[in-house]
Symmetry: C2
Subunit: 212 residues, 2 copies
């Protein structure tokens, strides 16, 4: 129904709206939100059409209402568990950042091969041996996985996540994952990002930056 780009920006708008809420702002115009998000005002309005909450001319959008509206679209109706595979530096960074930050979404299980890392809690998330992956993912009805393992392991871990019922994967490994079309993958490719940035840092391109 909605495009990944729109969904992504809505996620961003919501975070910015929380910031406004904290600073006591009750209403916001598309222009203000646009400048915070570094997009055009028309883009914001277009994206917000997906939310279905109307803004009023003169005062703009009610911040609280918009947050709720975006939540209604983005958040799972009930608690949605996420599995993290790979508890290296990257995995730990993710575990440290997320707890309590998203409504109805939580990293409920982490997996690693290293026996020294399992059977304890890291940032209040239980860690298991990777051998138990299928069993626990199935038991907990987990639908979302985060792959934070080395390139050499990534495809095999993805296969196992998919077999266990996962329908979406955030992939931090520097290789593309091959999955059935029902599974949605977002590849967070740090190498690609860095090479891209290095390339455009060399040209004096007056691009609007930011774009894909």
């Amino acid at each position: 129904m909605h495009s990944p780009k729109t969904i992504g920006r809505l996620s961003l708008y919501r975070r910015l709206l929380y910031g406004l809420l904290e600073s006591g702002t009750e209403h916001v115009h598309s222009h203000r939100l646009a400048s915070l998000a570094e997009v055009m005002a028309a883009q914001v309005r277009r994206d917000l059409m997906a939310v279905g909450r109307a803004g009023t001319p003169r005062r703009g959008y009610n911040v609280r209402e918009l947050i709720d509206g975006i939540g209604h679209l983005l958040d799972a109706p009930k608690q949605q568990g996420v599995a993290l595979v790979g508890i290296g530096n990257l995995g730990r960074a993710i575990l440290a950042y997320f707890p309590g930050r998203r409504p109805n979404m939580e990293i409920v299980a982490a997996f690693d091969v290293d026996p020294g890392k399992v059977n304890r809690s890291v940032h209040s998330c239980r860690c298991y041996r990777v051998e138990k992956l299928e069993e626990i993912v199935r038991e907990m009805s987990i639908r979302v996985g985060i792959v934070a393992v080395p390139a050499s392991e990534a495809q095999q871990i993805a296969d196992r996540l998919v077999r266990a019922g996962v329908r979406g994967i955030v992939n931090f490994a520097p290789v593309p994952l091959h999955v059935p079309p029902r599974v949605y993958v977002d590849h967070m490719d740090v190498t690609m990002s860095l090479e891209k940035v290095a390339y455009f840092a060399r040209r004096n391109t007056v691009r609007k930056s930011k774009k894909a």
Copy 2:
């Protein structure tokens, strides 16, 4: 001249080509590379037009030649230094991953506020107090920065990087950065990615996954 998407994919193709090279493959067809990269063959051919190396029908592209061609386009003519700001879990993950991986690009300086982390080397990269950021970035003519600090610090760090002459930034903080148009920013937004994936994991969308 070339679009960020094309440049990003070329970076990916090159990594895949290195893999082929190691496994002794000398020539590759656009279809093979496409399936490895999870894109269409026509996309690969279109992207490779930017490289200017011709493939031959029958045998396809010479792997070695293609790698060189992509390098010619992507790599800096001479050593290009990168500055990393923030030596938390994420910063360390990046420092652990990159050394020696990209031709003519190296993380040459890392910065942190924590006095316990500075004046030593992490993965053979010198760590400095963040107060020295401008001085060292200028001295080393660094043009690319990686922001791996908390949201609250990110904009201020970006400002300082830009003031010191940086022309491209990879931003891992969960907030958009406001920079002059000459500076290229790529926002690696983990929160956005996770919310997007969670959203599409819930729908049975038969999207081709992968897209933005």
